[in-house]
């Protein structure tokens, strides 16, 4: 299998765990996998991206522009920031709830994510989810990243099996949180199947 997947968001949103689970699940299925993370200064509230490359023929640790099959964006403007990586016909899973930078509260530019969502609607195929709504249902903001993995699996676009993802979730999250995480994954899976053309 050959797939390029990007996960992006703002430092502190839990993108790294999501990316590690995707990579591990793809490996579990016998694929050659490479990935790359943003580590360092930018983790303090800056823009962060994870690049996951599945397949023998991927050399660069970073996804080249125009080749991502899927972008999972934890924040709408981060989806737009990385839009050039999406390939024609690729799909973006986007959280519509914005993270306002501190500079925004200071300068009041009115950023609320809506222009980003409009732009994305016009320029690529997207699965939109709203973390505020979902976190309320899940009772915490802690499981949103795993919810997004569920959406990814449900959409059928990643080529990575549901069982591989859940097996890795069980490995990566602390024992006592496995059940809530699996519930979050199932909720996401259901959401994702709405967009699965094969179903």
């Amino acid at each position: 299998m050959n797939k390029d997947i990007m996960v992006c968001g703002v430092g502190g949103q839990g993108t790294v765990l999501a990316s590690k689970i995707i990579a591990a699940a793809a490996m579990r299925e016998g694929n050659t996998v490479h990935s790359a993370e943003t580590i360092g200064m930018a983790q303090r509230g800056g823009s962060v991206t994870s690049h996951i490359r599945v397949g023998e023929q991927s050399y660069s640790p970073l996804v080249p522009p125009g080749s991502a099959d899927i972008i999972i964006a934890f924040e709408p403007s981060e989806a737009v920031r990385n839009i050039a990586y999406l390939k024609a016909g690729g799909i973006a899973v986007v959280n519509t709830s914005p993270v306002r930078p501190v500079t925004e509260s200071l300068h009041n530019t009115g950023y609320d994510g809506s222009k980003m969502v409009e732009f994305l609607k016009e320029n690529c195929s997207c699965i939109f989810v709203d973390s505020d709504e979902i976190n309320e249902k899940l009772g915490s903001a802690k499981f949103f990243n795993v919810f997004l993995l569920g959406v990814l699996a449900g959409s059928g676009k990643s080529g990575i099996g549901k069982d591989s993802l859940t097996a890795e979730i069980k490995k990566f999250v602390p024992e006592k949180f496995i059940d809530v995480n699996l519930a979050a994954f199932e909720a996401g899976y259901e959401k994702g199947t709405e967009f699965n053309a094969d179903k």
Partner: protein, 597 residues
């Protein structure tokens, strides 16, 4: 089974596979996870430490290598500046057990002050350097580096860059590791004591030996060519090789020459690879090192080959390379235009996200206390390296200078010499204080400086990922040890006025700063409050109806947990730690939580 690890993890596994006995380092992005991975793996027979700084780490490793042990020392590129004194001399003395220096470069730079190139350092010190292009290759290279080091009795450098350090790959590491057996230190003053005579003699031998290493490198697997014999060829090293491989998918086959060992330059290999080539382009990050070696080679051998790269302006000198940059340049070089993704127009303005101090970060409170205390007085704020460098951003704007680790303390002294009527402050983190701050304080005392030293003691090395340090009372062997007490260190040096204060106790913090600013000589304030990432949050702050929407809290302290919405401020519960600084700032007492209840 394959283990899926970060490039730094691959380097760590490689070192373990090579039987490393002693691993020492000082944290620094992108190198920190090497020591951490060794610590997390079973490592019987391997001693590990976070040293107090890179110079100490280099010397600890050298001592071990004198004894025949295999020693690893890790740091980021600027760490090699700090460790250069021992390294330069060690290059003359040499080692007995294999010693590998990992110095991670950071093109971009992404998390560094400089875009320096460790390959230049290797050349400067006349010691071999390996330049990995991927985590897989880094795993193999570090093992080869240990072997070369032992074979030629010299320290060897492995120079990964950020994209190799932070890339993940599946590594086939052995199930278990065995640390090397070694004899122990044998006294031999003619070998281990550096004197002018020894340096003179060894200098000659080293240059001779480097010719042998260059020949050895010419035959090693890290230097190879691929593709057909074309008249135009591409040379690449490090992660640029990966970018070129990726980019070449869009071009007809062309000769690709991979250079994995920069110094001593594998001339024989390169001469062979360049046979039949008329024009060559070099892709490498940071400095045009390989490009210069090729130019030399062509000059000495009177070859008519045109060389393109950084020196003729084809490839940018600064910043990272990428698949896009390489593709654009290759299109021009080959005259074939590659398919490129269509440009996307109409992208709305994106919010800027500079990194910021976390919500509840005690550094914010320390800076704010000093700022308020010094309002209306001429004062200079010398910053330093760590999370607290982020105190430079609006609205705090409390970092007037920042140079290199430990420099804030001494720059404050220099500013004061030149500008007597300003109150000069130096801010230093606890890890930075131990790494290179202490000598600056002694300098201030001895030379009768006037300054206020602010130690921002958050009980960790936060910026680089929360490593322990001498003030934390934990070490990398998992032992609880006596904490080195910063106040006592200062007292022992002879600082007369030392106050330890909780920066989150706002009125007291301001009072302390005012008091210290008025005294002559060297004064020290230790702002002590743990990093929010290592302690549980307190009761979150809440904003009541009393909020008049003046935004003073946001304008004054810029905490990311404060959000202005519908004419009022609210707190983001997922970020707020309940530090209460906003409550102390609010003019109408609208904010409750830890501080106001």
């Amino acid at each position: 089974m394959k283990e899926y690890v970060m490039g730094n993890g691959a380097i760590a596994l490689g070192a373990l596979a090579a039987g490393v006995n002693v691993a020492a380092g000082y944290p620094g992005t992108p190198s920190s996870e090497i020591i951490e991975t060794i610590a997390k793996h079973p490592h019987e027979g391997t001693y590990i430490e976070w040293s107090v700084n890179e110079k100490a780490a280099m010397e600890v490793a050298a001592g071990a290598a004198y004894s025949g042990a295999r020693a690893l020392v890790t740091m980021k590129q600027m760490g090699l500046n700090v460790a250069s004194d021992p390294l330069m001399s060690l290059a003359y003395v040499g080692v007995k057990g294999g010693m590998v220096v990992v110095s991670a470069d950071d093109p971009g730079p992404i998390s560094s002050q400089t875009e320096q190139d460790t390959r230049r350092f290797a050349d400067f010190a006349r010691i071999p350097v390996f330049d990995p292009s991927s985590p897989e290759e880094a795993f193999e290279m570090i093992q080869a580096a240990f072997d070369y080091s032992e074979k030629y009795k010299t320290p060897v450098i492995l120079r990964p860059t950020t994209r190799v350090c932070h890339a993940y790959a599946g590594i086939d590491a052995p199930e278990s590791f065995a640390a090397k057996q070694y004899d122990g230190f044998e006294k031999d003053p003619g070998r281990w004591v550096i004197f002018p005579k020894l340096s003179y003699k060894n200098h000659g031998l080293i240059e001779q030996r480097n010719k042998d290493i260059a020949d050895d490198f010419s035959g090693c697997k890290f230097n190879f060519t691929c593709g057909p014999a074309t008249e135009k060829a591409v040379v690449a090293s490090g992660v640029s090789y990966a970018y070129v491989k990726e980019s070449l998918k869009a071009f007809p086959d062309i000769k690709l020459i991979k250079a994995g060992t920069a110094f001593p330059f594998p001339e024989k290999f390169m001469l062979g690879a360049l046979e039949g080539v008329k024009e060559v382009i070099c892709f490498e990050e940071l400095s045009p090192y390989i490009e210069e070696q090729i130019l030399k080679l062509i000059g000495r051998n009177h070859l008519g080959i045109k060389v393109r790269g950084k020196l003729d302006g084809t490839v940018p000198h600064n910043g990272e390379l990428s698949v896009s940059i390489v593709t654009d340049i290759l299109s021009d070089f080959t005259g074939i235009s590659a398919d490129k993704p269509a440009d996307i127009s109409g992208i709305p303005p994106l919010p800027v996200r500079p990194p910021v101090l976390c919500a509840g970060c005690p550094h914010r409170a320390s800076f704010y206390a000093v700022k308020q205390a010094m309002k209306g007085r001429k004062s200079f704020f010398c910053g330093d390296i760590g999370c607290y460098t982020l105190g430079n951003a609006a609205p705090l704007e409390m970092v007037d200078t920042c140079l290199c680790m430990g420099a804030g303390i001494t720059i404050a002294q220099g500013l004061h010499r030149a500008d007597k009527d300003a109150v000069c402050f130096a801010f230093t983190g606890d890890s930075t204080f131990f790494a290179s701050g202490m000598t600056g304080v002694v300098n201030a005392l001895y030379n009768e400086a006037d300054m206020v030293l602010c130690v921002l003691d958050n009980s960790t090395t936060a910026m680089t990922g929360h490593q322990p340090h001498p003030g934390t009372g934990r070490n990398m062997m998992g032992n609880i040890v006596d904490k080195v007490d910063i106040a006592k260190v200062l007292e022992g040096m002879g600082v007369k006025k030392i106050v330890t204060v909780d920066p989150l106790d706002y009125p007291k913090a301001v009072q302390t700063v005012k008091e210290c600013a008025d005294l002559p000589g060297v004064k020290a304030i230790i702002f002590k409050s743990p990093c929010i990432a290592i302690v549980k949050s307190g009761k979150k702050c809440t904003v009541s109806d009393k909020c008049i929407g003046c935004k003073k809290c946001i304008r004054e302290i810029g905490c990311p947990a404060l959000i202005f919405e519908n004419g009022k401020v609210r707190t983001d519960k997922s970020l707020c730690t309940g530090c209460g600084l906003c409550a102390a700032v609010c003019p109408v007492n609208a904010i409750g939580g830890n501080a106001n209840e």
